[in-house]
Every structure is written in structure tokens, then in C-alpha cells.
Amino acid sequence: MTDQPDPLRIDFHLLDRQIVDAAGEPVGKVDDVELTLNPATGRLQVTALLSGQQVLGERIGGRLGGLLAGIARRLHPVEHPPPLRIDLTHVASIGSAVTLTVHRDALPTPPLERWLGDQFIGKIPGAGHAGQ
């Protein structure tokens, strides 16, 4: 990581920011952040960004959050989908967006995006081309 705030404010600098890949294309929002207690040092480390509607629903909590997480779960073709977890080592910089060092193709495609691509949008003529 080259460009980074000091100190890193997790709520302000990370939560709800747009994650973009190395080419600047949107990957997802930072819906939550993973913190891990390092057993060797006993210190709390920031380890990964979590993204996905279910994570967001769990974070919002209450009836509204439950509803959101429930819809996300129902829309997923697989049961108990894991959230998109992006290790902090893949983060290139934290600015007005969180930029990754990798391309979005290297990350798992969100299941809903893929399902819609296979079953709906991809079947409409012209889906494979940007406009002209």
C-alpha cells in the first residue's frame, strides 16, 4: 500500500466506500471490515474488507437489516453464500475509493451478477457489446 490515510479511521475511511479494481472498475462497497485478534501479539489487526448485501444486512441489523439479508439470501442461487472477502494485502490505496492491486476478473463474480448474466441479461441480443 502506497497511498494511505494516517491514522486509518475504519468507519470514516473504509466503511461504505466504493471498492474499485486496479483498472478503476467497481467491485463492491465496503460493507464491513474484518478484524482479527493476533494470537501471537494479542493485538487486534485489520485483515480484510467484506462486501455483499448479506454482510450489509447483518451490519444494519434489526428488522430492516434482516429483511435486506433475507432478500440477498433468497436471490442467491447457492445456499449460505460466503461474503466477498478481500484481504487487506490486495488493497493498493485508500482514498475517495478503496483501490485494489488486482483486476476484478481475479475476484469471484457475485452470484447474483453471474446468475442474471447467465439466465437473463446474457440472453438478450446485444448484451455482449457496449453501446454504439
Partner: protein, 409 residues
């Protein structure tokens, strides 16, 4: 010509705020009932949208972040979800109205009921959203929408008593036969239309679609300071035409055909053809603006890939939201609800949406972490605060005024 093309985004954005189907008729209705006594609200609205569109254009150019991205970032997921719900409903109601508006414009040229044209119009709009490049859309519909300048020519041709119109414009009270409640209602709805939130969603996302960077700050400003004032002038010309033709006869306006009539009277058949073409382009353009905005807001809230730079296959969730929105709009219209009334009801949501959209823009436009040395100066901040206060007053007043006046009847 290149200069003209550079500002089509601003023109198309302004069309959605000032001369979409609801406003075409509302401007005419206002002129017929209040003369030019509400003209000042249009001017206030133009300044307000310029102040905030300039801010969000600057943020989009320098940081690449469109408005709804900032809304979620600064308000957090819950308040942003409340805004998303309200904004989406405003955008959806307007999209439905515009599809109906395109159909109404075709009815004026064909005399076949607009309801039969609704599916055709919706399909054409969707094809444009699906296949046509963003720049092509904004150029075609931004420029053809300028056909509405015919209202300015018609107003001149009608040879009104300019001094009387100007004198009317300085009277900030309802004329005889109208009460303060209705006057207030029309003032609030004109202002809310001028500052309708999908304008900033569309404008900032459009800037990102066009790939603006810090070098394009001037382009962004030109778009703002050409597009919105132009929208305001069209709005005032429509108001003026109605004031001249209808007010002396005590006629109230509630159809698109009535809005067009002063042009026919002043300029004859050619004028009428031009004005119908202008209606078509303006409503079609506003449909594109709201159709895209429905996808922009949802996708930006959740952080999905969005926009027309990439193939639909690359942004399937975005395109699905757009398709569902168009279908919902068609379903709403086929209940035979009056498309022109639809946009008036979207005023209900402005209480939630307006403050929650403009506050985050103002805050971020002051943050050096986003804008470095391009943060707001004292003028932008002073105007920003003044308008935020007006927005809050309007947002609070909107619903009671709606109930009190039975939506301005």
C-alpha cells in the same frame, strides 16, 4: 460544434428538471393561473441547481465519485437506504410519467390514443438504454430537445405587453381568485422540480460515464452554467406563453395539447410541428435520464458495476434494475392513471429525499481528502447553506400544502 456537443449533458440533465412532461404542463398551468407571479421561483431554482450541480460535477471530475456513492458513504447504510427508497420512487414515478409523455407527444401527431403508444414508447426507450452509446443519447436528445426554444419565439411573436409581464413577475402574491395555499403549493412544486434529485444523480454519473478528470472541470462548469439556465429560460417561456394566451380567458391548463396551443396560435403549422418534436425529444430524454438514474442509484448504493461504458453483460444487476423500472412504469401507466399528474405526487417523497441528497454533496465538497485544493470557496458555501435551508423549508412544507390544496386543485 465541439463546444456545443460538450454541453449536451448539462442540457439533457436540465430538460429532466425543467421541461419534462410534468413540468411542461405545470409551467403552462402556472402561467395560466398566476401569470408570471411565480417566475421568480424558477430563477431561484435555477441558481440552486447550478450551485449543487457544480459541486457534484467537481467531485465527480476530481474524485470519480458520483452522488449516490457519496450519499451512502457520508450518511451510512440506514439513512442512505431511506434516501434510496425515496429517490427510487421519485425516479420511477417520473420515468412512468415520461413514458406516458412520449406517448402523449405521439398522440398529438397521430390522434391515436396515447395508451396504445405506451408499450411502443417504453420499448424504444429501453432499446436506447440498452444499445445506444451514452454520448449519442445526450447529443441527440439534448440537441433535439432544444426545439422547445420555439416557445421563446412564440412568446415574442405573441407580442405581449412586456412591461406588464415584468411587473407581474415582481408581484410575489397570488392574483385575484387564487389563495395563498395554492400559490404556495405551486411555488413548492416548481422549486422541487427544479432541484429534483435525479438531476444530480444523472449529471454526476454522466460525468463519470464520460470519463471526466480534473482536466474536465471547465467542461463540467460549462455544462452547469449553460444547461440549467437554458432549462430555466424554456420553463419561463412556456409560462409566459400560457400567461398571455390563457390567463385573460380564465382558462386553466392540464393537458399537453393546451401547452402547445400558444405556439400554434403564434407560429402556425410549422411551429406546431417543431413544438411536438420538442415534446417528443424532451420527454424521451427525460425518460432516459430517469431510466438510467433508477439504475445508477441502486447500483451505486450497493457498489455494483454500473453504466453504459461497459457491455450489459458486465453490469447485469444495473441493467436488470433499469428493465424492471421501465416495466413497472408501463404497468403503472396501463392503470390509465394520468401521466401528467404522476410527477406531482412524487413531491411527497421530497421531504426525505431533498435534504438527504444535497447535504452529503455540500459536506464532501468541503473535504480536502476528496478535492484537495478544489474544495468549495466562500461563495459556494454561502449559497450552499442558503439553499440547504430553503430545501428543508420546502421539504417540510410540501406534504401539508399538498393535502391542504388537494394537489393544487
Amino acid at each position: 460544434m465541439k463546444r456545443v456537443f460538450a454541453v449536451t449533458l448539462g442540457i439533457l440533465t436540465a430538460i429532466g428538471g425543467f421541461v419534462d412532461i410534468g413540468d411542461l404542463v405545470a409551467n403552462s398551468e402556472t402561467g395560466a393561473r398566476f401569470g408570471m407571479r411565480l417566475a421568480v421561483v424558477v430563477v431561484i431554482g435555477v441558481i440552486g441547481i447550478c450551485v449543487y450541480a457544480e459541486m457534484c460535477g467537481r467531485v465527480a471530475a476530481i474524485s470519480g465519485r458520483p452522488v449516490f456513492d457519496l450519499v451512502r458513504e457520508r450518511l451510512g447504510p440506514k439513512a442512505a437506504l431511506a434516501n434510496l427508497t425515496g429517490s427510487y420512487l421519485v425516479t420511477l414515478l417520473t420515468l412512468a410519467a415520461e413514458i406516458g409523455g412520449v406517448a402523449l407527444a405521439i398522440q398529438l401527431a397521430s390522434s391515436v390514443s396515447y395508451l396504445l403508444w405506451v408499450p411502443v414508447a417504453a420499448f424504444a426507450i429501453w432499446v436506447a438504454l440498452w444499445r445506444v452509446k451514452f454520448e449519442t443519447l445526450e447529443r441527440v436528445f439534448g440537441l433535439v430537445g432544444l426545439a422547445l426554444v420555439v416557445f421563446v419565439i412564440a412568446l415574442i411573436q405573441l407580442q405581449p405587453d412586456w412591461a406588464a409581464l415584468a411587473g407581474d413577475a415582481t408581484q410575489l402574491s397570488p392574483p385575484d381568485g387564487e389563495d395563498w395555499g395554492t400559490y404556495g403549493f405551486y411555488a413548492v412544486s416548481l422549486f422541487a422540480a427544479a432541484m429534483t434529485p435525479y438531476e444530480v444523480f444523472f449529471f454526476s454519473s454522466g460525468g463519470v460515464e464520460e470519463g471526466w478528470t480534473a482536466k474536465d472541470l471547465l467542461t463540467s462548469r460549462m455544462n452547469v452554467f449553460v444547461g440549467f439556465p437554458l432549462g430555466g429560460v424554456l420553463s419561463l417561456a412556456i409560462m409566459g406563453c400560457a400567461a398571455v394566451v390563457y390567463q385573460p380567458l380564465g382558462v386553466q391548463v392540464d393537458t399537453l395539447a393546451q401547452t402547445a396551443l400558444p405556439v400554434g396560435i403564434a407560429l402556425g403549422k410549422i411551429g406546431l410541428v417543431v413544438v411536438i418534436l420538442g415534446f417528443f425529444a424532451a420527454t424521451f430524454g427525460a425518460a432516459l435520464e430517469t431510466g438510467l438514474s433508477s439504475g445508477y442509484t441502486v447500483a451505486q448504493y450497493f457498489g455494483w458495476q454500473w453504466g453504459k461504458r461497459v457491455a450489459p453483460r458486465q453490469a447485469t444487476r444495473f441493467h436488470t434494475v433499469v428493465i424492471i423500472s421501465v416495466l413497472l412504469g408501463v404497468a403503472l401507466l396501463l392503470t390509465t392513471i394520468d401521466p401528467i399528474q404522476l410527477t406531482e405526487y412524487s413531491l411527497v417523497f421530497s421531504a426525505v429525499v431533498l435534504p438527504l441528497t444535497y447535504l452529503p454533496i455540500l459536506v464532501v465538497a468541503n473535504d480536502r481528502a476528496y478535492l484537495d485544493d478544489k474544495v468549495n470557496g466562500p461563495l459556494a458555501n454561502t449559497l450552499g447553506i442558503i439553499y440547504l435551508v430553503i430545501i428543508v423549508v420546502v421539504a417540510v412544507a410540501a406534504i401539508p400544502l399538498m393535502i391542504l390544496t388537494g394537489v393544487g386543485q
